[in-house]
């Protein structure tokens, strides 16, 4: 037990337990979506793709899907300038009360989502933008903004500031140095962050629940509403959409920056 074999046996049994726990819901949803029966049961009545065929007939899910995509794009588009500039400011400029600013910018993580959602619901209601779609994107951007700042910070901190000094030395005015040196260098971080913001907005449920109503319901809320009634295989097929989107996102992240990046020590 205390030898090298014992070590890998103990560690790997925990890892395998984790792998099963992590993937079981995904695998089971994939399985359930392929049933030819009318209810979710085990073993499935038979294999068929009929629920995927029906997916395109479900207008409410289709609409919810496009609304979710729209909201997620808005979220990513707002976060790109806001998060990038904030990360550069924190890494490159002298900021008084730096710690206070950092703690302040982490508020979206420290304020519970339920409270953030309620607060934004009240404000958006007060200024009469509740019930529109773009404020949902704005709200989802606000609650996940630290992820964007983190992603860009990682690349700015890795960038040698002598490069910017060299550009200035060669006569580049500030804007040119920023556009031709800093910005291209932090691009990987910006892309990673924007991808994270998109996928998190695509999945965000609780804040979406507060900021949407029956007319502009987004996919996570729509799935939640269906779960509370009857569990039918069409819902599994809808959920598979999420699995596919997540798969594409993981693939893209791996190709863009490599998943191993997340193992690096700071």
């Amino acid at each position: 037990m205390t030898g090298a074999r014992g070590k890998s046996m103990v560690l790997w049994s925990v890892v395998i337990f984790n792998l099963i726990t992590l993937s079981l819901p995904t695998v089971i949803i994939l399985g359930a979506s392929l049933t030819s029966g009318d209810i979710v049961e085990f073993p499935p009545a038979g294999l068929s793709l009929k629920w995927y065929g029906k997916l395109w007939l479900l207008d409410n899910f289709k609409d919810a899907f496009w609304r979710t995509a729209y909201v997620s794009v808005i979220c990513a588009l707002i976060s790109i300038p806001a998060g990038t500039l904030a990360a550069i400011a924190l890494a490159r400029f002298r900021i008084r009360f730096r710690t206070t600013v950092q703690v302040y910018l982490l508020l979206p993580f420290t304020i519970p989502l339920v409270v953030s959602g309620l607060g934004m619901m009240m404000i958006f209601g007060e200024i009469r933008i509740l019930g529109q779609l773009w404020p949902v994107g704005l709200g989802l951007c606000i609650i996940n903004l630290p992820f964007m700042i983190w992603a860009v910070s990682a690349t700015v901190n890795a960038l040698d500031d002598e490069l910017e000094n060299a550009a200035a030395n060669c006569g580049a005015p500030p804007l040119q140095a920023f556009l031709t040196v800093t910005l291209p260098a932090v691009m990987p971080g910006v892309i990673t962050g924007a991808l994270l913001m998109f996928i998190l907005a695509f999945n965000e449920f609780l804040v979406s629940l507060f900021l949407t109503d029956a007319r502009i319901v987004t996919l996570p809320v729509s799935i939640y509403n269906s779960i509370r009634s009857v569990i039918t295989p069409d819902l599994a097929a809808v959920s598979v959409v999420y699995i596919i989107v997540a798969g594409v996102a993981v693939f893209a992240l791996d190709k863009l920056v490599g998943l191993e990046l997340f193992l690096k020590s700071k």
């Binding site: 070590k7 890892v15 606000i142 193992l263 020590s265």
Partner: protein
């Protein structure tokens, strides 16, 4: 033929933009540029601050049960209601569940992060990373739905039980189901926060420990875990606070039997239509969360959770 010389378009555009930038933001304000760049993010986050003020204001007004509006006069009656025995139970349950979920998640996440970081083969590492990121990118609702299919009355586990001739058992809408759902949800967060801390531990420290005669359990206890402390603290804080404030898992897998504070807040607003009570519960949740985070940051520093990599 006379040929008039012109700079390329991109150069002229850039010069024009540079002049415009200099006109809007003169050089002598350069020391303030950092604050200008911070402004969009600060304004976005300010929305949450206003929201918090709104909720705080709401919490100080009693509900008029005749008009179903909040009364004008200030009172603390919502806080009395929010600390009654019913809500004490819910607050206690949330705190207890957070402690349990944090403990289980850390025990499960640490070996995963360790094996992933130390994996000899790049393929193993990639596989473990993908297994982690895929659920991370699948939202809580879909994962909870997956668990409903696994644990439900006609679900996977119960159909296995009945096939074995055993009676079906109720596996959902109870406390353990919520804990299971939450642990599964928190695992990727915990592993991703632990992994950099484990990467920072040089393998030679472990080799040194082992060459001095320690077995792997002793090495873990006295070398690896103490050296990974910043990561363990960061990951625990995140898992604890995310669990404390969770809504979806208790709602979907608990089915109303295992309400957490967030569920009570939601019900306060939308079921019993008492925004004052919901707001008071929100303020209590924010207070508990902030106190816990402040204590931990005070004891351990924001180190693993801060934005800037360099220490000032």
């Amino acid at each position: 033929m006379k040929h008039s010389f012109r700079y390329p378009l991109a150069w002229r555009l850039l010069d024009w933009a540079e002049a415009a930038a200099a006109a809007i933001w003169p050089r002598r304000w350069a020391s303030l540029t950092g604050y200008l760049l911070l402004m969009p993010a600060m304004l976005l986050v300010f929305v949450l601050v206003i929201g918090l003020i709104y909720i705080g204001e709401n919490s100080l007004h009693e509900l008029d049960i005749y008009t179903y509006r909040l009364k004008e006069a200030f009172s603390l009656i919502n806080y009395r209601a929010a600390t009654s025995a019913t809500y004490q139970t819910i607050i206690g349950r949330s705190l207890g569940a957070s402690a349990i979920v944090t403990a289980i998640t850390m025990v499960l996440a640490f070996p995963y992060a360790y094996v992933m970081v130390r994996a000899a083969s790049a393929w193993t590492r990639k596989l473990l990373l993908i297994a982690l990121f895929l659920p991370f990118f699948i939202g809580q609702v879909v994962r909870a739905y997956g668990w409903l299919i696994v644990l439900g009355k006609q679900g996977l586990l119960n159909s296995i039980l009945t096939d074995l001739g055993l009676p079906a058992i109720k596996l959902i809408y109870n406390y353990p189901a919520v804990i299971l759902g939450l642990v599964q949800y928190m695992l990727p967060f915990a592993v991703l926060l632990l992994a950099p801390a484990i990467t920072a531990i040089g393998e030679e420290a472990e080799l040194a420990s082992e060459s001095l005669g320690a077995n792997w359990i002793q090495t873990f206890r006295h070398v690896v875990i103490p050296m990974a402390r910043p990561g363990l603290i960061g990951a625990s804080v995140v898992v604890f606070t995310l669990t404390l404030t969770d809504f979806a898992m208790p709602e979907i897998l608990g089915g109303g039997t295992t309400d957490f504070i967030a569920n009570a807040i939601y019900d306060g607003f939308f079921q019993i239509s008492n925004p004052g009570l919901g707001a008071a519960l929100s303020m209590i949740l924010v207070t508990i969360g902030s106190i816990l985070v402040t204590i931990i940051f005070y004891l351990a520093g924001t180190g693993t959770l801060g934005f800037s990599g360099r220490r000032p």
